[in-house]
């Protein structure tokens, strides 16, 4: 190992544009991981789109686009299974949502599929029914509502599969970093618990216990939570020993001012968003407050970021593929947000074959682009374990 060199504090910052420039010319197709924020912008765009439509064809297209991109750019890592898990959850959601619609909601339409025995309810529960006529319209409404939820879940799953939560953490502004770590540690706690549960169950088998899946997990809960708590404490000790939370020379007053700015800014953004979405709110609550909030938050973040001691190791560059990926996400969201409801909703009465608008369909198909234009993933080192 070479002797440690101390970087003189007055030295000029390394010319980052040179590095970035080379990467832009040569590196667009060099294997690298895409910036996590680009993936999240893309996935959130699709999620917004999915939330705006009930057309099964459009929703299925979104799902297909997600699947294509995840298949092409999913890293071979433990969190890569998030998409499959989201799909399983989504399937359950569809089934439950359809059953609820068919069994409990008021009957829609005339195309009777079959008749279920109806449960007679007392008079005071008029308006609620259980069983009875089942129409194709009800099935379709339940299914497409369920599909909409499932696709939104799949969007979150895809974002998780394409970039680990901890990678997202690197792009969090320095001022929010410590909050971010807390969130990420909490997020990784659940998967750790799951692997712990498996280990404890294997151990219970070794100890000669025979029990069903559910019972076994219930028995394992105590030691698993115990272990999780223990590990959290050890992790906190390790992070403390490695300098997490160093404040350097910032005074308490400075820190409080920055935190106040950031919090006030976010509060402004929240209220502004509320004003935008609630038609009955006064107009000045909308865009003006949103803008002002964003500005204050940005100022606070910048001030805190400049004083932060932290530096970033190999920060992900934001280059053309990132712009394109995040851009398609925003584009899809914008198209769906502005399109007429008739081009997005499935026609139920009378029943019709869905005929999505050309523009929304084209926008969704464009969102498959990242499978082609994002750089390929680096191949991990030899798996020798």
């Amino acid at each position: 190992m070479a002797l440690p060199t101390t970087a003189s504090p007055g030295a000029p910052a390394p010319a980052r544009s040179v590095v970035g420039g080379t990467a832009l010319r040569v590196g667009v197709r060099l294997p690298r991981a895409l910036h996590p924020l680009a993936w999240w912008a893309w996935a959130l765009g699709l999620m917004v789109a999915a939330s705006r439509t009930t057309d099964p064809l459009l929703l299925a297209t979104i799902l297909a686009v997600l699947a294509v991109v995840v298949a092409a750019r999913r890293p071979d890592a433990p969190w890569g299974g998030a998409f499959a898990a989201a799909l399983r959850l989504g399937a359950a959601v569809i089934v439950v949502r359809t059953l609820l619609q068919v069994l409990l909601a008021p009957t829609i339409g005339l195309a009777v599929a079959f008749r279920l025995p109806e449960v007679a309810l007392p008079d005071w529960m008029a308006g609620v029914r259980v069983g009875g006529l089942v129409t194709w319209e009800s099935v379709l409404v339940g299914f497409s509502e369920g599909l909409r939820l499932a696709v939104m879940i799949a969007c979150a799953g895809a974002a998780n599969a394409l970039s680990a939560p901890s990678r997202l953490l690197r792009s969090v502004p320095a001022a929010l970093y410590e909050l971010g770590v807390a969130v990420v540690v909490a997020l990784t706690f659940a998967p750790h618990l799951l692997s712990d549960a498996r280990r404890v169950r294997a151990a219970r088998r070794l100890r000669g216990h025979q029990e069903g899946r559910l019972r076994g997990f219930a028995r394992a809960a105590g030691p698993v939570l115990d272990g999780g708590l223990e590990r959290s404490i050890q992790l906190a000790a390790a992070m403390d020993s490695r300098g997490y939370g160093r404040t350097g020379s910032i005074t308490t007053t400075q820190r409080r001012t920055q935190a106040g700015l950031v919090l006030a800014g976010f509060a402004g953004i929240l209220v502004g968003l509320y004003g935008l979405f609630d038609a009955s709110a006064p107009r000045w609550l909308g865009w003006p407050l949103l803008g002002a909030g964003a500005l204050v938050a940005l100022l606070g973040l910048r001030a805190a970021g400049r004083r932060s001691l932290r530096s970033a190791y190999r920060p992900d560059p934001w280059l053309a593929p990132e712009w394109a990926t995040a851009g398609t996400g925003l584009l899809v969201a914008a198209v769906f947000a502005s399109a007429a409801w008739s081009t997005l909703a499935v026609a139920v009465t009378p029943l019709q074959w869905p005929s999505p608008g050309t523009l929304p369909l084209a926008a969704v198909l464009l969102a498959a682009g990242p499978a082609l234009w994002t750089p390929p993933l680096p191949t991990p080192g030899r798996w020798s374990a």
Partner: protein, 542 residues
């Protein structure tokens, strides 16, 4: 220049009946490698954690006196404000990992300290090379083997270029080769960079030769001295020192090299004596029929990653088979297959003629018992007493069986204690008692000596010999060459999923410079493996 100074330090934890450290006065000069030894629970970890301020800032408890590290008083500097001068590597590496990937983990400490990006990049590359991690740089930490994790944890502490490095049992999970690499790297840091290294280690045979000072902690009190002087009177010592004491060499050698220089006379004397019996001989089979444990053509792995390729192994009653090989060679995987935890992808596993994966409940624990690498994995009750009665319940043995086993293995354990509050050795004893309560004819052990002090190891060796004499089949995966020399009758070496050597213990370990115990190295080309053998041979004519 002093790196670390303890001034009349006393540490007492809440609820403990006596202080963990008492009146410790200590000076560690810069650029020394200090070895901390002592039995488990003697206050070693507290001492180490005082150096970076985890005690008392993180653990609580009352501390009197003061610790000054690189000119900073730990009473006023919490661990994070000492992170640029003290690097800490804990006992359980996986618990301290913050990032997801090897490379990010190495950079984490530097990021917290605000090291410039280009310096970070260079130091990460240097550390990857220094610890042989270059192949693993993009791997998720969760997929690494135990030894790989340990090296990453050490690397993660090194990248911040601390002036003092504190390590709690850094080589206990490593195979002999990897351990030597890590120790060589540490020594290079001390010699070339003037880094101060403080490390606690039970496997003295690996470390004592590198130490400048040995610090013995006993019952909260600390005594310091030159390694040779401290070893001469120490109750526990590595084989090289024991052999030196037996032969009366002065000065007492600490390394194999020094001992070989002194051993000319002893080698000549031993040449005239009859060689030792080839390991403890297998007792006649109590159960006739097929080998008690057999694996035929076993192939296992994870998707796209073969861990075992067509492995053929068998062991009969009264045999102690040691599986050796570097970290990640597939030893633990093979044990999980033998215990029926996982079914092999191809091939067959038989325990006394039965497929263990098809067994469950009492028939399973009556056929085979596995003590995993972390004995705690087997323990989940809230007290030792409940753990024992639960084991007796599932095994269907009369009450008190497991308790008597535990008493024989580790006398004097308070039954109301929580298993987590036991020492490593006591936990292993408890796990063994729990497994042996069902009296399985086949016992599988994964790294049983990890974290054990010499006393606990001695008791384990005695137990394994008794079990072997009673006709049990024992398969153990281990890096501990001294344990293998003491108990194994056969050794199989795994590498990259293949069995590359399989034969009588003496033959296999003597032929390998890496797996040879210290006594074999000193007395080569003689057939001697342990101090006990030499002692018995010398005693016969005298």
């Amino acid at each position: 220049m002093t790196a670390v100074r303890f001034e009349r330090v006393t540490v007492a934890y809440e609820g403990a009946d006596r202080p963990a450290l008492r009146d410790v006065d200590l000076v560690i000069p810069e650029g020394e490698l200090v070895l901390v030894v002592g039995e488990t629970g003697c206050g070693k970890s507290t001492l180490l954690r005082c150096i970076n301020g985890l005690v008392p800032h993180f653990t609580g408890g009352a501390m009197a006196g003061r610790v000054v590290v690189a000119g900073r008083d730990t009473r006023t500097h919490p661990p994070r404000e000492l992170a640029d001068v003290v690097g800490m590597v804990g006992q359980d590496p996986i618990a301290g990992f913050v990032a997801e990937l090897v490379e990010d983990e190495l950079a984490y400490g530097m990021e917290c300290l605000g090291v410039p990006a280009d310096t970070m990049r260079r130091r990460v590359e240097e550390t990857l090379d220094l610890l042989g991690l270059a192949d693993l740089r993009a791997r998720p930490l969760a997929t690494l083997s135990g030894g790989q994790r340990q090296r990453v944890a050490i690397g993660a502490a090194l990248t911040s270029h601390p002036r003092i490095l504190v390590l709690d049992e850094p080589t206990s999970a490593l195979d002999p080769g990897a351990a030597e690499e890590v120790l060589a790297a540490l020594q290079r840091l001390v010699h070339d960079l003037g880094m101060t290294v403080v490390l606690a280690e039970h496997r003295l045979e690996r470390v004592v030769q590198y130490a400048d000072q040995v610090l013995v902690v006993a019952d909260g009190r600390v005594s310091v001295g030159e390694p040779a002087a401290m070893m001469a009177g120490a109750p526990v010592a590595p084989p090289v020192v024991e052999l030196g004491r037996l032969a009366g060499w002065v000065p007492l050698p600490l390394s194999v090299r020094d001992a070989r220089r002194a051993a000319g006379g002893l080698r000549a004397r031993l040449r005239a004596l009859p060689p030792p019996p080839e390991g403890p001989s297998p007792v006649p089979a109590l159960v006739s029929g097929p080998a008690a444990v057999s694996a035929r053509n076993v192939t296992m792995g994870y998707p796209g990653v073969p861990v075992l390729r067509r492995v053929d192994l068998a062991a009969g009653p009264g045999e102690v088979l040691a599986l050796m090989g570097r970290n990640g060679a597939g030893k633990s995987t093979l044990l999980t297959a033998l215990a029926g935890v996982r079914a092999p992808a191809a091939g067959t596993v038989r325990i006394g003629g039965q497929d263990p994966h098809a067994l469950a409940g009492r028939p399973l624990i009556g056929a085979v018992g596995l003590v995993p690498q972390e004995p705690t994995d087997l323990l989940y009750a809230t007290s030792v007493a409940r753990e024992l009665s639960d084991a007796e319940g599932t095994a269907g043995t009369p009450a008190g069986t497991a308790g008597r086993l535990l008493e024989a293995l580790a006398p004097g354990i308070e039954p109301s204690l929580h298993p987590r509050d036991l020492s490593e050795g006591q936990r292993l004893a408890l796990a063994l008692a729990v497994v042996l309560a069902a009296a399985p004819p086949v016992l599988l052990l994964d790294e049983p000596t990890r974290g054990l002090d010499y006393g606990a190891k001695r008791r384990l060796i005695d137990l394994l010999r008794q079990l072997q004499a009673a006709g049990h089949t024992i398969v153990l995966a281990t890096h501990d060459v001294e344990l293998v020399a003491e108990v194994a009758t056969r050794v199989a070496v795994l590498a990259d999923g293949d069995v590359v050597a399989d034969g009588p213990a003496g033959e296999v370990v003597r032929s390998s410079p890496l797996f040879a115990p210290q006594v074999a190295k000193i007395l080569a080309p003689g057939p001697w493996l342990t101090v006990g053998q030499v002692q018995r041979a010398l005693a016969v004519p005298g």
